[in-house]
């Protein structure tokens, strides 16, 4: 009997569950029995963190990327564009932000997507809502937050990210920034493409999920291991509460400084979350940490450089400024209420 992708996925799911279940025990045995390391030392604590978190986060990532891959096979930028055409402003911002989460999108395609949206007559603010939500509310970020901190933090992250994307797009639209788009963008008249949306079978969608896992995991595992290694170092060697003064609630300047540091830093969600985990553990406040994380994965230097091809410099600054302000507000809000 030939295994099709659907059957294979059920089999692999069982293997996954067993691996996830025995992981804590396996790491315990490895660290304390096989390597017979002394409990409580800095080295042991760092090593334990690494050996436990690395496979755990990898396992979580594989299952999430697979699941999201299947969900994404139902969406495409072309369909999203059709939904957003002729929608009134605020509704357009809400839809664009929500679709930004599920539409398959890579920031390397930001420019053709931007041009395609402009050509379809979608307001700039709506397009910016999409471009803000798509990288920031990243499935990997959400599920890793869920895995490491629980559903409350994950839900907070998603709802705050959506709020920022909706409001940033709305504000940008009110600023009448059309003149800051490169003029040639408006002149583009593309050839109409015959859209052949093929209907996929479930088996094909599962295959798409596998492809996504191969592509994404092979791309991000390095970031992930480096992120976890940094996290492990912080976990073992940085004293308890060290971050309380620097990134705690009492330091009012911590939020803007975190955002300023976060914007030029470039990492994907998989790499930044272990660092976030370790920061929180050492006394950094949730608001400041979330602001840091959002600015690292939501606003990235490479993406703004790519967008410079279609946007004049003032609009780049407006975009980064408006989204950055939103992120700071979220940071202060969380520090105030948590």
């Amino acid at each position: 009997m030939k295994l099709n992708s659907l059957r294979l996925s059920v089999l692999l799911l069982a293997v996954w569950l067993i691996a996830y279940a025995v992981l804590p025990l396996a790491v315990n045995v490895l660290v304390y029995k096989l390597l017979s390391l002394e409990e409580g030392t800095r080295l042991t604590s760092s090593l334990y963190f690494f050996l436990y978190e690395a496979p755990k986060v990898l396992l979580l990532m594989v299952i999430v990327v697979f699941g999201v891959g299947i969900v994404r096979s139902y969406f495409s930028p072309e369909k999203t564009r059709k939904v957003l055409e002729n929608k009134p402003l605020l509704l357009g911002n809400v839809l664009a932000s929500a679709l930004g989460i599920v539409t398959p999108f890579c920031s390397c395609s930001a420019v053709p997507l931007f041009i395609g949206f402009v050509e379809a007559g979608i307001p700039l603010g709506v397009t910016f809502s999409f471009l803000t939500a798509a990288p920031m509310i990243n499935e990997i970020a959400v599920v890793l937050l869920f895995g490491l901190f629980g559903w409350r933090v994950a839900l907070l992250y998603v709802s705050m990210g959506l709020a920022i994307a909706i409001l940033a797009g709305y504000v940008i639209n009110k600023l009448n920034v059309e003149r800051y788009v490169e003029d040639w963008v408006y002149a583009i008249r593309s050839k109409p493409q015959n859209s052949r949306e093929e209907v996929l079978t479930l088996n094909a969608r599962v295959e798409f999920g596998f492809t996504q896992v191969r592509e994404i995991v092979s791309k991000v595992w390095v970031y992930l291991l480096v992120g976890i290694a940094v996290g492990a170092g912080i976990h073992g060697y940085v004293p308890e509460n060290f971050m309380a003064g620097l990134m705690g609630k009492s330091a009012w300047w911590a939020v803007p400084v975190s955002v300023l540091i976060g914007v030029p830093l470039y990492s994907n969600a998989a790499g930044i979350i272990p660092v976030v985990h370790a920061l929180l553990e050492k006394g950094a406040s949730l608001g400041t940490t979330l602001a840091f994380m959002m600015s690292v994965i939501g606003l990235s230097l490479p993406e703004t450089i790519i967008l410079r091809k279609v946007l004049k410099l003032p609009l780049i600054f407006i975009f980064v400024g408006v989204v950055g302000t939103g992120i700071m507000l979220v940071g202060y809000l969380f520090n105030a209420i948590m």
Partner: protein, 84 residues
């Protein structure tokens, strides 16, 4: 037959170009493979995702890197359409 690879130089675009060349060699058609990196030219094809694959000015795929076999299939079906 003119095959164009649309993309501004990301890794996916380079992979697609390589696969397109491979496909052309193995299906024995006379075809040239060109790279289009100018963003205006790319946008004119109306694709929302790169990389894009164009055969004789018709966009046959965008946003993904088809396998060599899939590209061969696209070339063959396009050639069949042209002659019929």
């Amino acid at each position: 037959m003119v095959i164009k690879v649309l993309g501004s130089g990301c890794t996916n675009c380079k992979t697609l170009e390589k696969r397109a060349l491979e496909a052309v060699v193995s299906v024995h058609v006379t075809a040239t493979v060109e790279k289009v990196t100018d963003i205006r030219a790319i946008a004119a094809y109306g694709i929302l995702r790169t990389p894009g694959l164009v055969i004789d000015e018709e966009v046959v795929s965008s946003g993904s890197v088809p396998t060599v076999d899939a590209i061969k299939g696209l070339i063959v079906s396009h050639a069949a359409k042209g002659t019929s």
